[in-house]
């Protein structure tokens, strides 16, 4: 059953029939990520414009807890490493390790999102609401959008594990894992930019 479906995947999916040599799916994912750059570009620009505009409530440097966010950033970056290990296991057809690393990646991602939820709660208690100031609105919007991206990534990872268990990953499995990996690394890279611009560079 699934095996025959896979044979379909190989056909256009790989080299021979595609004009660029990249599979349709991979090229499509790259295009999507290119588009996402502009999405975060717009959100980051909005934040950079508004970060100093605090009419009410706390200033950025009054509430940011750099050590805490550094730790959660480190956890997110480590999840990129485990994602690479998952892709590599998938390419070696090492199913056990692939599942293991996918789950660990998802857990690391969930830890990051959990940290973000904690951070948002703490900021809210310290007086920074979504509507408090321009800084508040743009901070929550930018980091919130990133958090939603990480959460979507976690859903994709868990779906991969579940679908793999039922042998329902269509097409080339190693490539599907790689595509989720591309998305995951992209979200991590965006966080490096956000962390630097929002937390590290003083306003």
């Amino acid at each position: 059953m699934a095996e025959t479906a896979i044979s379909h995947g190989h056909d256009v999916g790989h080299g021979a029939h595609s004009s660029t040599g990249l599979s349709n799916n991979k090229l499509g994912m790259w295009m999507f990520l290119g588009s996402e750059c502009l999405l975060f570009g717009g959100l980051i620009s909005t934040y950079m414009l508004y970060k100093g505009r605090v009419n009410a409530g706390p200033q950025p440097d009054q509430i940011f807890d750099i050590p805490f966010t550094s730790v959660s950033s480190f956890i997110l970056l480590m999840s990129s490493l485990t994602m690479v290990l998952a892709v590599s296991a998938a390419q070696r057809k090492d199913e056990r390790n692939m599942n293991l690393w996918l789950v660990i990646t998802a857990l690391l991602g969930a830890t990051f999102v959990g940290g973000q939820v904690y951070e948002f709660t703490a900021f809210y208690r310290e007086g920074l609401g979504f509507t408090t100031s321009l800084f508040g609105s743009s901070f929550y919007t930018l980091t919130g959008f990133h958090g939603v991206h990480v959460s979507v990534g976690i859903i994709m990872l868990m779906a991969l594990v579940g679908m793999n268990r039922n042998k329902r990953i269509p097409g080339d499995r190693a490539e599907v894992v790689e595509l989720v990996g591309l998305y995951w690394h992209f979200v991590d890279i965006v966080w490096i930019i956000i962390f630097t611009l929002v937390y590290l560079i003083p306003s």
Partner: protein, 671 residues
Amino acid sequence: MTIIDRPSTDVAIAGGAPAGVKPSEALGVFKRPAASTSWRDWVVTVDHKKLGIMYGVTAFFFFIVGGVEALLIRLQLIAPDGKVLNADQYNQMFTMHATTMVFLFVMPMAAAFANYFVPLQIGARDVAFPRLNAFGFWCFLFGGLFLNSSWFLGGGADGGWFMYAPNSSTLFSPSLGIDFWTLGLQITGIASLTGAINLIVTVLNMRAPGMKMMRMPIFTWMVLVTQFLLLFAIPVITVALFLLTFQRSFDATFFDVASGADPLLWQHLFWIFGHPEVYIMILPSFGIISEVLPVFSKKPLFGYPIVAMSGAAIGFVGWGVWAHHMFASGLGPVSVTVFSMATMAIAVPTGVKIVNWVMTMWGGKLSFTVPMLFAIALVVQFTIGGLSGVTHAVAPSDTQQTDTYYIVAHFHYVLFGGAVFGLFSGFYYWWPKMFRRQLNEGLGKWNFWLMVIGMNLTFGPMHILGLQGQPRRMGVWTEARAGEGFFNFGFWNQIASIGSFILGFGVLLFLVNVIYTHKSKKVAISPLDPWDARTLEWMTHNPPQEHNFDTIPTVGHLDEFFHRKYETDASTHAVKQVHSAEEVMAELNAHPDEHIHMPSRSYWPILLALSLPVIAYGLIYNRMLMAVGAAMTLLTMFGWSMEPSTSPDDDFDPPAPGEGGGHTKELSPLG
């Protein structure tokens, strides 16, 4: 929902009657829908040609909606002290007219042609992601209906199509119109984004053997550039729309000037999207007439690589000119100078194209068919609009013109005289390909001339009105303020209004022509190659079979079809026809591919798209409904990913007995 098994007729098999087929065990929640001839097939189809037609029909419907809105605007201004609309209705009317024409007519109509003809022009059997393609169409339809449902739920958006902040805040626009506007455009934006990814991958990846980039028809080239513009422009408007939604629905402060917000933020975000958007609308039409002009001039396109590259150049430079929409906002001299220069620069590749089109016609054997007339009209009218555009690039002059009717005149010359004429040229040119019948030439000429005369009568006087100072979006004029003399504001407004009704009548004649062509017994079936065309889409049946090509052609030339029909004598350079279109087709299809597996139909695209307006209504009316919509989205996405894009092999007909190894051609795995 009816659940149908897959009958064997579902499978497209070239050369050979299908034998028995084993209906598949569905991998998703539903069994896969099967082919049928009823309306159901249109709901579950993933065929790029059917989706192209659906895009076209829906876009034309919205064209009429937007056209009626335009006529109401002109009716209001036909006489002093207009009483047709009150001020509030007038605001809604011009906002929704522009929004409908831009997002629900020109863009999706270009998508209709792109969907239908790009795979045919590059020699592919379908697009890269067929289900995503269907999803895009349904997002466009539901987004458009959602947007227009605001008319019945408290009134349409009223902030003008660029919805400047802070005028778009709940303080100045308390009705729900703008909420419908932001969410509706968000949904149609998803359609554009998925369409862009799909078409880019299709063009880059699925070209027939030998179809190098520099052998692609110009229409395909222009669609490719357009899709890249969409890919990078849509996320920017997405951000802007999210910020506005958060402001209006969740009291965020992004455009709240009292909290220190900068109203220019919206303007920048909107126009970073908005200016590429202008090229998104015009480039597909440029592509269409670059196909039409050579065919009816009996000459190859003059300077093909230059036309392709100037299109790409417009695409690049188009990102650096957005602030010319904001010259009056006080950007400062440096910004104004830079954007002024860039705007003048972009006129160069555009002018290059016009030169190429004129040189294509120069010395050609012109035949003035209706598609050719529309194409020539585009060259003429767009040039007028382009020249008034260059006057906006000069910042001091633009400061005088900003928010006057001169601007309205300019963009209607480039959009109606440019984009819309190109689309009409495409209707007449490709109608026999899509529907087997040629639209009536006589009615078509009436259609054409009424549209050209109507358009110039409507938008021509607006130059004069604008330069004399009539503000854009002015809802009422009075006799006392119309000025002195016979040729005063009142006179020109009346001319423009009369012109708009001539224009409307011209468009109506197109519909009459369509009905006449398909109802009248006198209209014969069109020959295979009615125009003596040059490109691959004409190497298929009229209309093309579901799998487009029995055999994928191997491409050796630009204008492949022409080179298969004609030979050039080496010594005399005389071109003579050596094969008829029928002979070329017969030769190509002498050894058809066997066992072509087309992507299978699916319920998921329409279901997933249906969940989006549920979320949007939920956001406006009831947060619980939003949760329901979000759950629908997740479930349908899950069902989608569980369903392989092409049914497994044992779903299809087994090879007929006695046949050896056929060439199995399959389409994309995911999507």
